[in-house]
Amino acid sequence: MQIINLFSKSVLASSLLMLSGMALAHEGHQMQSDASIATESTVVTDHSSMDHSKMNQLDEQSNAVDHTQHQALTTTMGEESIASHSTHDHRKEHGAQVYQRVTIDNAWMLDEDGKGTLDSSLELRIGTDENKLFIKGSSSKAESDKIEYDLSALYSRNIADFWDVQAGVRYSDNPERTTDQERVDAALGLHGLAQYFFETDAYLYFGQDSRVAFSLETERDLLLTQKLILKPYLDLNVVFSDDSRYAQKTGLNSIKTGLETRYEITKKVMPYVSVAYAYSKGNKETAWQTATDSESGWLYGAGLRFRF
């Protein structure tokens, strides 16, 4: 367990480092400094090496095939072709580039009793069309409570036009608990755009103490104008089993559905207001906690999202 924890922490730490590097690189890029290119390229190399470890044989095969063809060609084309191939594969500039996208979101949400929670989330996607690394983090700081957060590192592989399959780990930390504050789950899921433009993420989580859960997040944009956009959304969690000290009730454990209205000042800066209805089933009775009843109620608030 300790080892797993250590491993996951180091993965997370390194990904965080990478993340900060990316942010720096991006800012630098905005300022058109030459240094940014250097930072960027190191990150790119970093990633490409990672890519290779996960690439299946398909890519290697195609490389091999390509090479043989090239040799066949050189019989008619002469020596220069070989030189061109050995130095730099220009084809990479036509579809194999590495791109990135960062989304940072902060929202202040109030419940019906006026109790506020600061929800923050961050998502980094970096990679090619086929192979990407997703780093997702979210934290929730309710008034008078300590900050709860989780962080996931997922490898994302494109499997269909609109879909990626993702696999990785999720690390979560809840300081409110007296023991088992930190948890690590394996995550396996789908990310993509469903028909009717529903942006969808669905994951299965597997953790210690027979914890098996499913989460689904889906949302869709409805344009009032080109800049004022409604976004109905649905987040739900289903717990299949949980024997941990802080076990949650099984079944549909929580659901939140709402309507966000954002204004895209630019595609990079998007403030929004949100109204949601949330339900949670509560916790199981264990030696470490008392059972809680289900709760439900309205949430409302405002947030600010950056994407670059």
Partner: protein, 646 residues
């Protein structure tokens, strides 16, 4: 060292080192150019930005040759840390001179290095040149290239003209190509600012009812496509020969002169509908290759295409109007009689209705595409507001007026005490000349805003939409050029039937901004191989809902446009409209590796490109499918990989 320094100084002081060594005494004239690629500050929109210059110019200078010349073009890359390259668009030349990195052993031009292009000029006509490295073309590395016939002797009597101008259309963006490409990858809708809103759905519901609305929208939603996607990138300023509408490029003429206008669409991502109101154009050349004259009122020019037209201006002043097909703006220039006084300002025309894609543009699904194209009012001349008499016309709104022709609209007897807030700014008229407000009698017209009638800055927005990609809202009775009109001026030398077929399937996932040929990006694709000397039918099948201007390097294709083989026009770039199939014949008579790609820059960067290899390949190793004679032709697709078919 000294040489380097002096070169640097030259570059810094942006001196055009254009030297011309023309020797008339030799057998073949050597025509030499020196081009230096630099970074420089350019100011097009009022905001100075760093872009690429060639010999200090933005865009790159015009190069001129004569057929039969030996071209020697020394290209020096002074960019700091990026390779560059120049491709001669539409020219027949040895593969290594074609200038595409990774092809034929050409590897681009490293920083501070020079590459000398040498080739025999084997053709005449209007062409252009541009970078083939990343997005450098968008950033300024593009220019026109004109090859005159030997001794400048016209190819035919009708081509004899008194003036000869290049009209190079292009699109300038305040963001660099690199930023645009990244933004498109962050969100394919990054530049989409004309998407449909809930309001549009509501309007459709009221007009067509729930059932029809649902069935129309269902398909788009299932396909995850936007019917408003006419162009992926907006925010462009459109240029004529590098000049904004305000800067107004002007071509001078004398009365009764014939003027040749060489239109080049050197934009990165834009199609244009081109017209010169009140002036007929005679198309004499397409993609640099002469065609039998076709008289037209307007033509649509795809990215990277060229058309030469001849005009005979009669009055003193004409405006060349090239409107982007997403109706986001115009490239504007002027033709002016040099004997008359020059009128400075251009007149910004009203935008034509924007086309909305229909099921027919979606590929094999629809069939029931509604045609509302006739809905736009053809003629509103004689519209009379003369008896309007209002004491208070606040908030009068003409914004929904849509007319193709509002000549003669007369407001002369309008009598208003207070016309505050009267807003004509959104009036949609293609031609509002002659609209006369002169006798309007108003005590207070302070806030009446006619400014945009003459203003050269803002385009009057048109909220109307017409249906179908191909709908250019050509006024009734006007002739717009069609591909089927094009006939080669001289008989085609090769009129053989195709013996094999090469399928080029154009596809993509808009949402992820991935664009492919035969399902593969260039980075994953295997080259297409065809047999040297063979006559091939290239079949472009567009499975996407965007038009793709497909460009083949190194050889001309004969467009199968319904003309007999002997008359088919030569093309280097063929527009394949959404969901359509276009075929062309190719005589694979140039050995080498040739790029075949979509000439929308960001489609190419995203992967819509491949390598076509013309070589002495053995049967069974080619990418083509033999054409079945008589039997039912199998319409199997070639996936770009090897098909051992025997």
């Amino acid at each position: 060292m000294f040489i380097q320094l002096s070169q640097k100084r030259l570059a810094q002081s942006l001196i055009a080192t254009l030297c011309l060594v023309s020797s008339t005494w030799g057998i073949a004239a050597i025509k030499e150019y020196q081009l230096s690629i630099d970074e420089g500050i350019v100011n097009v929109t009022g905001k100075p930005v760093k872009r690429i210059t060639v010999n200090g110019q933005f865009p790159a200078p015009l190069l001129e040759f004569e057929e039969g010349d030996e071209a020697v073009i020394r290209v020096k890359n002074n960019l700091k840390n990026q390779d560059s390259s120049i491709h001669w668009h539409g020219l027949l030349l040895p593969g290594i001179m074609d200038g595409v990195p990774g092809f034929n052993g050409y590897n681009g031009i490293k920083p501070n290095e020079e590459f000398v292009y040498k080739f025999k000029v084997r053709q005449s006509g209007t062409y252009w040149y541009h970078a083939h490295s990343k997005g450098q073309e968008q950033d300024g590395l593009y220019g026109s290239l004109v090859i005159y016939p030997k001794d400048k002797k016209p190819l035919a009597a009708h081509e004899r003209t008194d003036r000869d101008y290049v009209v190079m259309l292009s699109d300038f963006h305040e963001q660099t190509s690199d930023q645009i490409q990244k933004n498109l990858k962050i969100s394919a809708e990054y530049y989409q600012n004309l998407r449909e809103t809930l309001g549009d759905v509501w309007k459709q519901l009221q007009r067509d009812g729930l059932k029809a609305t649902w069935s129309d929208r269902k398909m788009w939603n299932q396909m995850r496509m936007l019917k408003t996607d006419m162009s992926d990138v907006t925010g462009y300023t459109f240029l004529v020969n590098g000049k904004t509408p305000e800067q107004n490029w002007t071509g001078l003429f004398k009365p009764n002169e014939k003027v040749r206008l060489r239109f080049v669409n050197a934009s990165a991502m834009s199609f244009f509908d081109v017209r010169i109101p009140q002036l007929k154009m005679t198309v004499v050349s397409a993609d640099g290759q002469p065609v039998k004259p076709v008289n037209v009122d307007e033509f649509r020019i795809g990215t990277a295409e060229t058309y030469d037209v001849i005009v005979e201006p009669k009055t003193s002043h004409y405006q060349i109007e090239a409107e982007s097909i997403d109706r986001s703006g115009f490239a504007i220039g002027t033709l002016h009689n040099e004997l008359t006084a020059k009128s400075a300002a251009i007149h910004m025309p009203a935008a034509r209705p924007r086309a909305v894609l229909t099921m027919d543009d979606m590929g094999g699904h629809g069939g029931g595409g509604m045609d509302h194209s006739k809905m736009s009012m053809g003629d509103m001349s004689g519209m009379d507001h003369s008896k309007m008499n209002a004491n208070d016309m606040q908030g009068m709104d003409h914004s929904k007026m849509s007319a193709n022709d509002m000549q003669g609209m007369d407001h002369s007897k309008m009598n208003a005490n207070d016309m505050q807030g009267m807003d004509h700014s959104k009036m949609n008229a293609n031609d509002m000349q002659g609209m006369d407000h002169s006798k309007m009698n108003a005590n207070d017209t302070q806030a009446m805003d006619h400014s945009q009638h003459n203003s050269s800055s803002a385009v009057q927005k048109n909220d109307q939409a017409v249906y179908g990609w191909a709908n250019a809202s050509t006024p009734q009775g006007d002739k717009a050029l069609q591909y089927s009109d094009l006939k080669s001026l001289t008989p085609q030398p090769d009129t053989r039937d195709a013996t094999s077929e090469l399928v080029i399937r154009l596809g993509g996932t808009m949402e992820r901004y991935v664009w492919t040929i035969n399902g593969k990006k260039f980075s994953d694709a295997e080259p297409l191989k065809v047999k040297y000397g063979e006559r091939i039918r290239i079949k472009f099948i567009n499975d996407s809902m965007m038009a793709h201007p497909m460009h083949l390097h190194g050889m001309f294709m004969q467009l199968e446009n319904g003309q007999p083989a002997v008359d088919m026009p030569n093309k280097h770039t063929i527009v394949v409209p959404p969901a359509k199939t276009v075929t062309a014949l190719l005589t694979a008579d140039e050995l080498g590796e040739w790029a075949i790609h979509c000439h929308l820059l960001y489609h190419m960067s995203a992967g819509m490109m491949n390598k076509l290899i013309v070589a002495n390949v053995s049967e069974g190793k080619v990418s083509t499918q033999p054409v079945q004679t008589s039997n039912t032709t199998q319409k199997t697709e070639v996936k770009g990989d090897e098909h051992a078919n025997h």
